[in-house]
Symmetry: C2
Subunit: 400 residues, 2 copies
């Protein structure tokens, strides 16, 4: 199955004509980049909200480094702390009792590194670097974020399934998992292990909320919860005070805190979402998570249909589960499609020939017949992606 | 000269009565923290500007990770890039020709670390860590920011004056210097050296602008330029494309870019300042830098008067210089007072007994008879600081 670039362009061009039927802002022969999970699909919802989430910031506002000098996390704005805890209570996806510490970060990316620092600088001042593992397929940035500064505190130790070293380690548990959407638990489960729970996708638009997560260190991010990636706001919910203190120390040393403008806006938006969820009733407009879940379900249905029809790829199947938030059984609709070629071809390369840029399986510690595709792009891009994916079958048939 | 805590409290209480004459929001017996350079003194200026610098951000704005996908620094908002270059042109403090790269960061703190990564991961993939030095007294955070992750790429190598290792190194040149306000140049000047110019304080309110800085890597920060520390915005102006690319890579790995809300607001505020500077005339209100310089000059005059009168401390003297921006000779008025006890006592400890918290000389690589005091606090705090400083003499006299 060799697909020449001419055929790919021709296939792409054939999409042009049908795409032109409905006017689109995206040139239909352009490259579609679905490699990064840029969550732009939620924008129409926020546009519809009008001024409800608008923040107005004067020139003299938010000037000091400090937000709450008496708080352990002195740069966390109290209104954001409140909004985070309230939303988790309303959604029921995490325990946020008063004895838990909230640490805000410049996205959960910075917090992940803050946790590595906190866990590794705590107990082993002079020993060898702490091993960091995650079960494959794992989030593609974990290895690079762990390795790029060649820290003597921690080092990437690869697939948790293959980890057999004794002693202290850190396991990253991403659930639902990025890239493959599965619900996960720790796999190493040995003495001396510490866990980071990356719960970026544990929200009702992506999965059933089956209970309040109650882990030692839980990471969430504004990007995936509401689609506001440009704000770079993440938060950690932490049980242990010493870990929280060390994380705050990391934030001080790496950036002296976190943008207050972003914190203020995140607080406002999270407040509005929580309020809308509480007020939802038969006569009310759908709340953010209902909207998100409806869109994601529709996209997954369309994608599964295209994949089924063209016969070239497969997708994971997910069990239905009862969602406490929605109050009914729901199908998961992950933020990424974990696409696999049935015949073992390099899935990322194949899609690139059709001008669809994705992130190949090897980035996630598995084979290249897998690739990860963002499901969170704008409608026009997602529809063009489906058209191109559907076109692969037509083009392939001769060689297949 | 041993000052008991009772005496200190008594001295502090004696300040209360005089402080009470003019009502103040700060309890006059409270601890004044001048250890961090929180630039809250500029707030009245920004309040006076009314809505001129107000930004309004709707719920659907600024959602994507990307700001300018075609730019090397893809997360930098074009309006911030423009505003930064325009302000430097108006002030005349840095070369910002089109062939220079602007990289935005979460404060210049994050950018400092991005530069270390860029310079160390570039040329020496497997050799020993790159030495990082700065001439004492140096910014107290450089050692910790360089060391805290025990990177294999770079390591803190102390005072540049004492550095005698062969081979590659990085020298941080802070000018005007933090903590002591002096104008600086590189001191090592050897083959294989690379320079980071930290120009956080090279603005007209602190020093004479004597020419456009034209160094390879220059760091600036919104905090010290305008007083907006809570926004966490810094920028680097970089000559070498490969260095800029590596810095952007660091920003991707450490936080996937920089808050767009903060960038938008910084763009607005820098634009307004530049516009006001250009429009200044005899009938116009004073521009931001004129305001800042007037306040700083007044504070320095008062401080020098108190120091002269009580005889316990000394302050550095700075040469007058012609400021191209102001068009006249001016006295420097640094953001920090670098206070020294005349008799060699621990200056930080002495001030703490009078409930003034500062950052002692040993943090900056010199003796404890020096301490650094922020000159950028709000008026009430600064005045209370002066009163307590003046009171030290009276209390001391018995033991002195």
């Amino acid at each position: 199955m060799v697909v020449g670039i001419e055929k790919a362009v021709s296939a792409a061009n054939s999409v042009v004509s049908s795409a032109k039927k409905t006017p689109t802002a995206i040139p239909s022969d352009c490259v579609i980049n679905l490699a990064r999970g840029d969550p732009t699909m939620y924008q129409p919802y926020w546009r519809r909200m009008g001024d409800k989430c608008t923040v107005v910031i004067s020139g003299h506002d938010l000037m000091s480094y400090f937000s709450d000098p008496g708080n352990l996390c002195w740069f966390l704005m109290p209104e954001l702390d409140d909004a985070i805890r309230r939303l988790h209570r309303v959604v029921g996806n995490a325990v946020v009792d008063d004895d838990r510490y909230v640490v805000v970060g410049t996205g959960s990316t910075q917090l992940f590194q803050a946790v590595l620092y906190a866990l590794s600088s705590q107990d082993n001042p002079d020993t060898e670097p702490l091993s960091v593992v995650a079960a494959a397929p794992f989030y593609s940035s974990y290895p690079e974020e762990t390795e790029f500064l060649r820290s003597g505190l921690y080092k990437w130790a690869g697939d948790a399934y293959a980890f057999d070293k004794d002693g202290a380690y850190v396991e990253c548990v991403t659930s639902p998992n990025n890239p493959d959407g599965t619900i996960r638990e720790a796999v190493v489960n040995r003495e001396g292990g510490k866990l980071i729970h990356d719960l970026a996708y544990y929200w009702p638009q992506y999965t059933a909320i089956t209970g309040k997560a109650d882990n030692d260190i839980m990471l969430f991010t504004f990007s995936k919860a509401t689609g506001h990636a440009g704000s770079r706001i993440g938060w950690a919910i932490v049980k242990d005070k010493e870990v929280a203190i060390k994380m705050v120390k990391y934030m001080e040393l790496s950036s002296i805190g976190v943008s207050k403008e972003s914190q203020l806006r995140a607080a406002k938006i999270l407040e509005v979402i929580a309020e809308d969820c509480v007020n939802s009733g038969p006569e009310k407009e759908e709340n953010f998570f209902e909207y998100g879940h409806r869109l994601m379900s529709e996209r997954w249905e369309k994608l599964r249909e295209v994949v089924k029809r063209n016969g070239v790829f497969s997708l994971p199947k997910y069990p239905r589960d009862f969602c406490n938030f929605k109050g009914k059984d729901t199908d998961p609709s992950p933020a990424f499609a974990w696409l696999k070629t049935k015949d073992g071809l390099n899935c990322d390369n194949l899609l690139r020939e059709f001008k669809i840029v994705t992130r190949g399986g090897t980035n996630f510690g598995v084979d290249s017949d897998y690739t990860r595709i963002s499901m969170l792009s704008v409608d026009e891009e997602f529809n063009l992606f489906l058209e191109r994916l559907a076109a692969i079958k037509g083009t392939m048939n001769g060689n297949y």
